[in-house]
């Protein structure tokens, strides 16, 4: 295994070339059109020009039923924009490389890693974060179940776990034990509270019925 020494300092999403960017963008091509610089320049095969740092695009992001108009660098992840631009710190950062699930949000009801989703890519989607599961000051049923079952210790993986569980229950209101374990296997908990998380999801399924 050979490691690129430069890569050892790379924060995920921190070095997006135009080509890499378009690949990462996938279907969200509208994001490209929104950035003037992006459309004006053409990448040659040899050279992959970087989008200058600080050059922003205007996007509309719908988070918890509210639409925010924001200026973002195309390389910014949804996680970065939620936490640092919108101050919605319920969504946590554990690895910023798609390995832990601390950043889980719902995009059109499906649990997704916000650290692997570019903000521009999330335009036009329905984003729900932990904060969006609250009913005013009242906890949602999954949150309530996590609290009652003590399904956390330090609580840092917890927002991601709760949102992943919410996504599961939206897709399958009566999940089997096996389904719960599989659905939650993309969310690490270093404190090791998995059995209590499992209990909480079973209890939340009952509460939602």
């Amino acid at each position: 295994m050979k490691h690129d020494p430069k890569a050892s300092h790379c924060q995920c999403g921190g070095k997006i070339s135009r080509r890499g960017f378009i690949t990462a963008l996938g279907v969200g091509a509208a994001g490209v059109a929104a950035s003037g610089a992006m459309t004006a320049r053409t990448a040659t095969a040899k050279e992959t020009p970087m989008i200058p740092s600080g050059e922003t695009a205007r996007i509309d992001l719908t988070v918890n039923d509210r639409t925010h108009t924001l200026l973002v660098e195309p390389r910014w992840t949804l996680l970065h924009v939620l936490r640092e631009s919108l101050g919605m710190t319920g969504t946590k950062a554990g690895c910023e490389r798609g390995e832990c699930g601390a950043c889980t949000v719902l995009i059109d009801d499906i649990p997704r890693y916000a650290c692997l989703t570019l903000a521009v890519e999330a335009q036009g989607r329905r984003i729900v974060t932990l904060e969006g599961l609250m009913e005013g000051e009242k906890l949602g049923p999954v949150q309530e179940a996590f609290l009652e079952e003590d399904a956390f210790q330090c609580g840092y993986c917890t927002p991601g776990q709760i949102v992943a569980a919410e996504g599961l229950l939206r897709a399958d209101p009566n999940p089997s034990s096996e389904t719960i374990t599989r659905a939650m296997s993309g969310n690490l908990c270093r404190c090791g509270t998995y059995p209590h998380i499992h209990n909480a999801i079973q209890s939340a399924a009952g509460k939602r019925r």
Partner: protein, 770 residues
């Protein structure tokens, strides 16, 4: 309609008696709320997202820091060129070893200090330079644009090779130190044995990787520094930073209301704390500096690898006659306790008159170790628990029986009695609750029927080195004029439920409901002195202190009532929030009606942690039992169920107690089966798996949902006035050894090296067949 009294106080159950000032309170007889299943008092904040963790802090004008780290395991920095980086968009400051403001010494240990950006980089991930910029993206852009020329040196990343190598990581050779212990005469002990077994074991290096990254937000107001740090101990960070920066303690305020996990890796200030402070001062802006996940694998600690040998002698009846143990561990690039406490279980757990241990700590070119949940213990447990089973087999004894045969009467490691020991109960009651005998037989029956899936049942037990806590600690409880309560303590809640347990203690003692207690904690500016939360000492340290503070409040209230009622303090007692005379029950005043309290607005009680019992050892004990299925075609091991018994004195909150136990078992499964640091030995020397993709933590799929916690409750009247001992570390000590024993029971294969996974197990299958 409920009255105010109903809201705040629970009636009909007597409030514990208030001792006169200077006298120790009696142990609680019957508890009202302690020991119940109480959800966490800060649970709402944690599940709603309103809890502000240090990494969530956003300050006006805040910018972001990032650190350039050495990519080589051993190199000299020749030149750092920041000319390009400095001019990049958004960049506000770049500091290197040449920057005058960074000319500081960093204490790697008591003896070894190096420059903050030392040109001699002894491990991959050592700090070389740092940047502050408007966004984290721009900070990382600039880090990547710094050009460093290194003189790459020969590296050593294997601890056994380092012992004999010509290359020296520090002057004076690669041995950090050797520690020995002996009692009795091991040679005589082996001569007296009916059976002697010797084996070698190795446990791989494990990395903490709490989910919240290491880091802080630093902000200066003139000469005063405030740090929001993800830490186990705000006072420890305060003193560390004050020392390095040469500042008075009073000018360094550290706040850590919440923190997202640590397991021993956040007991002190990090280099990153100092770097954030320097960047903030240079830019006159608040700086947020949290490490990347990769950096946390390299530079903020680990549980060192342990290469162990153990030779043990036993009589036919199961009595141990001798234990001879050696271990080579690795501090890493600086002295960091590479073999700390690794022989403690050998010395203390099972009765044995003749013991010899020798532990050699070595320098290697890898990140320095840090304490990791029960330092040294899971490593030794891995060897000792497998050895106990091997001995039992040799003499035809049951694994549970051989352990019960060797339960010691005193702490042999300290040569003094334990205050209390529940080791025997942990083993015996655990075996019963687990259905040990039936399960063992059923597994053996199943395996006789042939087929590739084999079943096995194993166990292990443990003591933890400390767990009694101790002074110093100071706690303040304030009771407001309406009877509601504020609890003020310096201790961090690292996820173990400290705030909840302390609220329960205050509630129990004052008769107040825990919901009306407001807690202020982990802030050197506003809360009282506490040592870091770690070592399973927070509950036994803080709980008695909280109790003392609550008693001080009651004593003060009684004095006020005595004046109000013109009675003697000694005649007065509490009934919920009423104070009444035992002589004449018509003499009675509600605390809300105390005129002095109304005038003052608050009553304050200060509690101090008293001394620990002299000449006794306070320790928690545990045992764990598990059942596994091994697929002998694929090498896959499925853990079917786990059961843990813990004697930690009094159970304070049953809900958080159980959560600790399950969490400890999960971490132990990682230690035994999924986690190891892979260094590119013989080639680059770099870490090959510095991320969660390649370094696997157990997920929900890797642990059984069938996990049971069985508390062995034995309130310890001598340990402290709450009867509680520590819990956080014993819960993870015996797990890996128990799994190895179960795998052996299933397959007849001894997995002497961690991890147990399909690759290592298949290799053993092949060896056995070949």
């Amino acid at each position: 309609m409920t009255t105010e009294k109903d809201i705040y106080y629970t009636k009909d159950i007597p409030v514990p008696e208030t001792p006169p000032p200077g006298e120790e309170p009696a142990p609680w007889k019957r508890t009202r709320i302690i020991g119940k299943r109480v959800p966490r008092v800060d649970g709402y904040e944690r599940v709603s997202g309103t809890a502000v963790y240090p990494s969530d802090v956003i300050l006006p004008n805040m910018i972001h820091g990032a650190i350039l780290r050495c990519p080589h395991p051993h190199a000299m920095v020749k030149k750092v060129d920041i000319s390009k980086a400095e001019k990049m968009p958004g960049v506000r400051a770049v500091i290197t070893g040449d920057s005058p403001e960074a000319d500081l010494m960093w204490p790697y240990s008591g003896e070894v200090r190096t420059k903050l950006f030392d040109p001699h980089c002894r491990f991959e991930g050592e700090t070389v330079a740092a940047v502050a910029a408007d966004t984290p993206y721009q900070a990382w852009d600039a880090v990547r644009a710094i050009k460093v020329s290194y003189d790459v040196k020969k590296h050593l990343v294997d601890e056994t090779e380092a012992l004999t190598s010509e290359v020296s990581i520090h002057e004076g050779g690669n041995k950090v130190g050797v520690q020995t212990h002996h009692r009795g005469d091991v040679e005589k002990g082996f001569a007296a044995a009916d059976a002697v077994v010797a084996a070698s074991y190795r446990s791989a290096c494990e990395i903490h990787t709490p989910i919240e990254l290491h880091g802080c937000v630093a902000n200066w107001d003139g000469g005063a520094l405030t740090l929001w740090e993800s830490t186990q101990g705000v006072y420890s960070v305060q003193s560390g930073v004050a020392e390095v920066l040469g500042m008075p303690l009073s000018k360094v305020r550290v706040i850590g209301h919440y923190m997202g996990g640590a397991f021993g890796s956040k007991l002190q200030a990090g280099k990153y704390t100092i770097i954030a402070a320097l960047l903030a001062r240079k830019t006159a802006r608040p700086v947020k500096l949290f490490l990347s996940r990769e950096e946390t694998y390299l530079a903020v600690g680990n549980r060192p690898p342990a290469n162990m040998t153990l030779k043990a002698g036993v009589k036919k009846d199961g009595t141990l006659t001798a234990l001879d143990f050696t271990c080579t561990g690795a501090s890493g690039a600086y002295p960091a306790g590479g073999t700390a406490l690794v022989d403690w279980l050998i010395r203390d757990l099972y009765a044995c008159p003749n013991v010899r241990t020798e532990c050699t700590d070595v320098y290697i070119n890898a990140g320095p170790a840090r304490p990791f949940r029960a330092p040294g213990h899971p490593q030794a447990s891995w060897a000792l628990e497998q050895m106990m089973d091997a001995l039992a087999e040799k003499i035809g004894m049951d694994p549970v029986a051989i352990r019960l045969k060797n339960v010691p009467d005193i702490s042999q490691g300290r040569d003094r009695p334990y205050t209390t020991t529940g080791l025997r109960e942990c083993i015996a009651k655990g075996a019963e609750a687990f259905g040990w005998e039936t399960a063992r037989k059923a597994a053996e029956e199943h395996n006789r029927n042939g087929g590739p899936i084999k079943r096995g049942v194993g166990m292990g037990s443990c003591v933890w080195f400390v767990g009694g806590g101790g002074p110093p600690s100071t706690v303040v409880i304030k009771l407001f004029s309406d009877g509601s309560v504020n609890l003020n303590m310096g201790a961090s809640d690292i996820g173990t439920g400290t705030k909840t347990v302390m609220a329960l203690v205050a509630a129990e003692e004052l008769g107040v409901k825990p919901e009306v207690i407001q807690i202020e904690n982990a802030d050197t500016g506003t809360t009282q002195y506490a040592t870091p939360s770690g070592g399973s000492k927070t509950v036994p340290t803080e709980a008695p202190t909280v109790r003392n503070a609550a008693i001080a409040v009651k004593q003060e209230l009684l004095k006020m009532a005595a004046r109000e009622l013109d009675a003697e303090v000694s005649d007065l007692r509490f009934d919920a929030d009423d104070i009444l005379s035992s002589k004449d029950s018509s003499q009675k005043v509600n605390i809300k009606d105390l005129s002095e309290l109304k005038k003052r607005g608050v009553v304050m009680g200060v509690g101090y942690r008293g001394p620990n019992p002299e000449n006794k050892s306070v320790n928690p004990f545990a045992a764990q039992f598990c059942e596994v299925e091994v697929n002998t075609h694929t090498g896959e091991v499925e853990i079917l169920r786990f059961l843990g018994t813990n004697e930690s004195g009094r159970v304070m909150d049953r809900l958080t107690f159980d959560c600790q136990v399950l969490g400890g078992i999960t971490m132990g499964i990682g230690f035994g089966m999924t986690e190891w640091r892979a260094l590119d030995h013989g080639q680059t020397g770099k870490m090959l798996n510095k991320n969660w993709h390649d370094y696997k933590l157990p997920t929900a799929l890797d642990v059984p949902m069938d996990m049971t916690s069985v508390p062995i409750e034995m309130p310890d009247p001598e340990a402290n006035n709450t009867g509680a001992k520590g819990l956080g570390e014993p819960v993870t000590i015996p797990t890996a050894g128990a799994i190895a024993n179960a795998v052996y029971h299933a397959t007849g294969i001894r997995m002497t090296d961690t991890p147990i996974n399909p690759i290592t197990l298949n290799r053993k299958f092949a060896e056995k067949e070949g």
